[in-house]
Symmetry: C2
Subunit: 734 residues, 2 copies
């Protein structure tokens, strides 16, 4: 009779594209924990098992750190090699990148590190001529061909094997972390294909970065290791704690910024972030960063992607250009979010156009991260870059760190033109690139746009300060012969501003940038730019790129940051509305199996309230549709005497029935006896708060103890959309 007191398969799981109930998951985990603790007193073996269980969280973190660090290292190395493969090949060992090839060569002097006989451009290898128009055209042609090949491979692999591998993945991860189920999004295939196609996509020279996809890759690792421990694989809530930490590890390896990674996960990605997760995320992020460092893909044993060291302080007056860069960043963010929503173009076409346009300009030909690295750089005395072609003071005897401002040479002016062209190109092509069906991140391209703009502004300010020492604004802080302006700092501020405009990150952005420079000195410029860019971008629309994509896909994401300030009550939002048929409820001991089956067939609700009787409308519990279906199916198969006219009861004891009636079916086990209720007078702002903080799926509405209706997460989201004059039908999932 009490057959259903035994668990049956799949009870308490969720369907694809549904939202989990955080409270239920939490209480299931407490149950599990209680069981293990009480068992652990029984035997040594159980005690060991309970200790293993307690430690499994740390083990998972360690594994995530190791694997995501390794994958990031491998991706970095592969991208380096394949980016260089578009231009030439290393004769001594074809698997060496340009830098590695020349690094092992003995003949190199310091000055032309990147020219060595072992490294040959394609034209030289094929025709023997390194110079000349013919060689240039051949190289150009092969560059485009390689790019097309890479992007073709990438797009085909994604399309055939793992459609979920495309894009940056962060919007979906945000949604998943908020409690949504997307099966396969963090699966093994996605992990494999995303890693491979990420390398191909970045190497193809498209204007995209690997940072966002690395977060996706790290989350896939997290999900993979979750399946090793039933604690995490069987509990969707606990699984999300691991995924939050994995996201931190992803950013940590993307930028070599563990603290920034944790804050990114906390600020931008995560939904439920208890203190325990903070500490574990930090551990995972550190392990990942150190794994990456021991692989040492950049060959400088540095953790960070763009290491910079500046020698000059900044001055108050410089806040004006910094804030202007912030405004630029905000505008860029707005433009990108508005136009980046509708990607229509074909990947191959965009790759072709990118390659054709990028090759002639040295600043767009190289990989974007190299470009940013050069733009961030402060010109030392030994720098051979075109950007550092200043006219040196002949009196300066030896290279020092603190070089005074100098007039720009022809190389700098030349570079300025090329940078201006690169800026326009990057802006246009990045907008078209993001959202294509290949793995693509937006951090690096956005930073590149900002860095180019920043460097241009920086050089302009520097030359103004040099040539016009007597202007009032420069008089106070820039004596002749002093080093006042660091154009590299402007590039960094611009990069932060553009990244902030697109993502609306704040603290984590500043901390990531701080970890890049390692000095508190430059936090104020970065903050000024980040705040300005956020305000400017917010003025045009509150949503960052991730929220905008979540909305575009109709995911049910209840943003923690949206303040709900409208004066509506629970009664205005609950279903059924006045014109609608009454709420579909079950009674505690008068509904038959057939009634239940009809109800399930006729409606698509995710669950049904159970009341004492239809007249009293006194609520006793809530039952999930999925559990109900499974329980009845199970009972019909395995339990004798259960027929369509059997009464279903949710009470402790079977109801008093005439002897002629078939055996009743007890379903108390699947009844949630503590459904969440609010009164009909509860303000919607409180309801929204409760949904957010407790992670509810639905909430029942009562008035003086009578059940009136139900509010689901979808109802809340639709109501919020309506209040913001958006289309409520855009919220598609529950």
């Amino acid at each position: 009779m009490d057959f259903l007191d035994e668990p049956f398969p799949d009870v308490g799981t969720y369907e694809d594209f549904h939202t989990i109930d955080w409270l239920r998951e939490k209480s299931r985990d407490t149950d599990r924990h209680r069981k293990i603790t009480s068992k652990s007193k029984e035997s040594i073996w159980e005690l060991i098992k309970s200790l293993l269980d307690a430690w499994s969280g740390w083990v998972v973190m360690l594994l995530i750190g190791l694997l995501s660090g390794t994958l990031a290292g491998v991706i970095d190395l592969a991208v380096d090699w394949m980016t260089d493969l578009k231009e030439g090949v290393c004769l001594s060992a074809f698997w060496y990148s340009h830098e590695q090839c020349c690094w092992t060569s003995n003949e190199t002097t310091f000055d032309d590190r990147d020219k060595c006989p072992q490294w040959q451009k394609w034209a030289e290898l094929m025709t023997g001529h390194a110079e000349g128009a013919g060689a240039y055209v051949l190289n150009y042609f092969l560059y485009i061909l390689w790019a097309l090949l890479f992007s073709f491979l990438a797009v085909s692999l994604v399309r055939v094997f793992a459609p979920y591998a495309c894009g940056s993945g962060i919007p979906e991860i945000k949604t998943i972390l908020s409690g949504f189920i997307i099966r396969g999004y963090l699966g093994k295939w996605t992990l494999l294909i995303k890693t491979v196609t990420l390398v191909l996509a970045v190497s193809s020279g498209l204007s995209l970065g690997k940072e966002g996809p690395l977060v996706h890759v790290a989350c896939c690792c997290g999900n993979l290791f979750c399946s090793l421990f039933s604690k995490y694989s069987k509990n969707e809530g606990k699984r999300r704690e691991v995924l939050s930490a994995a996201a931190a590890a992803g950013v940590s390896v993307a930028f070599g910024a563990p603290i920034g990674g944790v804050l990114f996960s906390l600020e931008e990605v995560s939904y439920y972030f208890p203190l325990k997760t903070l500490w574990r995320s930090f551990f995972a992020a550190l392990v990942a960063a150190f794994t990456l460092r021991s692989i040492n893909p950049f060959g400088n044993s540095r953790l960070v992607l763009f290491y910079v060291e500046y020698h000059t302080p900044w001055y108050m007056a410089e806040l004006v250009p910094f804030i202007l860069l912030g405004v630029f960043g905000g505008l860029w963010g707005t433009l990108f979010i508005r136009l980046g929503k509708y990607p229509v173009l074909e990947v191959i076409a965009v790759t072709g156009i990118t390659a054709v346009l990028a090759y002639p300009n040295p600043y767009t030909r190289r990989s974007t991260s190299e470009l940013i690295s050069e733009l961030f750089n402060d010109c030392g005395a030994l720098e051979s870059s075109q950007l550092c072609d200043y006219i040196n003071n002949p009196n300066m005897s030896r290279p020092v760190d603190d070089i005074p401002d100098r007039p720009a040479g022809p190389g700098v002016y030349n570079a300025l033109w090329q940078l201006a062209l690169a800026l326009v190109f990057k802006i246009v092509i990045t907008i078209f690139t993001f959202g294509m069906k290949i793995p693509s991140g937006l951090f690096i391209p956005s930073m590149a746009v900002g860095a180019i703009a920043g460097r241009i502004v920086g050089i302009a300010v520097e030359q103004m300060a040099y040539h016009h020492h007597d202007w009032i604004i420069f008089k106070n802080w820039c004596r002749p012969g002093a080093d006042c302006v660091t154009p590299g700092l402007y590039a960094m501020v611009g990069a932060a501003a553009c990244l902030g405009g697109v993502t609306r990150m704040t603290v984590s952005l500043v901390v990531i940038m701080f970890e890049l420079t390692g000095g508190l000195e430059y936090i104020v410029p970065l903050m000024a730019a980040a705040v300005t860019s956020k305000w400017v971008a917010d003025a045009f629309g509150k949503e960052g790129i991730y929220e905008s994509h979540i909305q575009l896909n109709g995911y049910p994401y209840l943003d923690v940051r949206d303040e709900f300030t409208h004066r509506t009550l629970a009664t205005d939002v609950m279903r059924p509305r006045r014109s609608e048929p009454p709420l579909a409820v079950l009674t505690q001991d008068t509904t038959t199996v057939e009634d239940v089956e009809t109800l399930i067939k006729d409606t698509d609700y995710n669950g049904f309230p159970v009341v004492v009787s239809r007249e009293s409308e006194r609520l006793i519990g809530f039952v999930q549709r999925r559990d109900l279906t499974l329980a009845i199916k199970n009972a019909r198969q395995k339990q004798d005497g259960v027929v369509s006219s059997s009464v279903v009861y949710f009470t402790e004891d079977a109801p008093q029935l005439p002897a002629s009636n078939p055996q009743p079916l007890k379903l108390r086990r699947i009844l949630n006896l503590s459904p969440f209720t609010v009164t009909d007078h509860t303000p919607m702002e409180t309801v929204v708060d409760i949904f957010r903080k407790l992670g509810l799926r639905q909430c029942l509405v009562t008035r003086s103890g009578r059940l009136l209706g139900i509010i689901t997460k979808k109802d809340v989201l639709r109501h919020m959309a309506q209040m913001m004059n958006q289309d409520p039908e855009s919220i598609m999932f529950n």
Copy 2:
């Protein structure tokens, strides 16, 4: 008739030593915000007011940063001066500290910076003799006298003017941030007296630090500036957002670690920390740090208290001593928490004993932060400290950064003995000092204990490695002539371990330490020590020093970290219990004014549920005792016809009463129509979760729509205490 639809004074406020209702505060703020937004469309003036309102949060942050940075700078300067005043005086300007005095002197060479004619010890000034036993005794005597004077002043000021100024203040701030009201704890007097007495207490040479009290001072600043804006002064929830940020600013100036400060506030102090607060805290922490830097109290334009630069990496094998230091830190934390709970001794006596014992030992005579600074330091070639008295290799031509390990000279061995004595002294005296009735922080003394232990271990390992290159453990990483061991790093790891053992901080601890060294390099040793010390200390008792003090004081603090895993239900915790009289309720339209007054007189409940009728037990709302008292008092005074036999009604329309009845009193305005309810079957872990996340004061319990009982925060805390085998009566407040 609808007199009470107008607000009357004090409605919705809280009494002293009561807990706020977060949901109500939040919903009041939303109301206020809605009003301002709708008004802002009426006129330009209202628009400006609404903009000012929107910006007030940032203005408050700016002001907090400026004031707390300034206060921290002033405190640093004053402590420096007064600490030195115990030993001597500057002849050129008596308000100069020893360092400032000699800094302005022209005659100083690099080697004896701290010996200059302008600075005279008391004996020299009074007798003309700088050396000799007589001078020593006189100096000793005056040192003790000054110390006694300072501590006497401190203790008297605290006792007379602001008893709340004693201790570190962090336990109380944690409690206040969790929603408790302690009037005057963050008042102007407390601010003033705490600042002054903090300087006196630290200067008196007692084994206490200024870091905890600085957090209290910053929070007082925050509270002060809250009163400028009605948005914050009139809403206890919003006020707590500001206080969270102020706590971050406090740690930021205490250590010069803005990011660490924000994480400290997030991890250790705050209760409700929305993302908006994260960003604002960061701003406040930065402003505070930069204000402090521009005051430049340490004279080195460094932000941080202990700036260190190490040149050697650490090796895997060193993790063993690091973990041992972690164990030591955990044991220290346990000892301190167990014994530090019962401070009985007199401040003056402890000061006297401290001064008598501290003077002869150079490591205890100087200020604790100077001691830590020296212990953290890596011995450069120019270091004149006794700790750096190594036997130099005569072949070494010029000072370099990377000095190989050297044999220790007699100075080092001498220092080791003194350090060992200092360690014992610090351990004993710190336990007696904390908790005395003067401002006292535990960060610096705890760090000192760890740093001394760490330095001793570090020197031991260094000398072992030098003398036994051939031992297997050293063979792999320590060639002869190499710089393998940095004793300063051991000191830092020890300091982190001891601080972690006492406070159980994790991420914020590592980040603060990271901000001190500025290098990711040493995060792993710090983490290893912090984790070990936390685990060891947790094994002896889950509570850190702050939680332990909160419990000692019986404050109603619902810790976010305590996991509730017992299998109890709401019905087991709710009042009334089975043996108790029924729940005190009001009916919606049949209770008279006299009934209400009797109920208020006879019970001490904080509020009463309102039901349709005693028979149906259908809940319609909840009314606060304070509001009820105020409303009836108000009505009796100002509203004609309200007498003892008047019926009180909570419905929209007045009840149908015989004409002979006196005029009824409408109280719907003070009725909370959306009280929080759970069913009697709700597991207590869910109830605890709801109380924590939503910040409730009380929650009503129903079964099938009938009101059964009530659970207050106090009930929850008492139940939790009972489940942990603690005395439930220790929870004293509601």
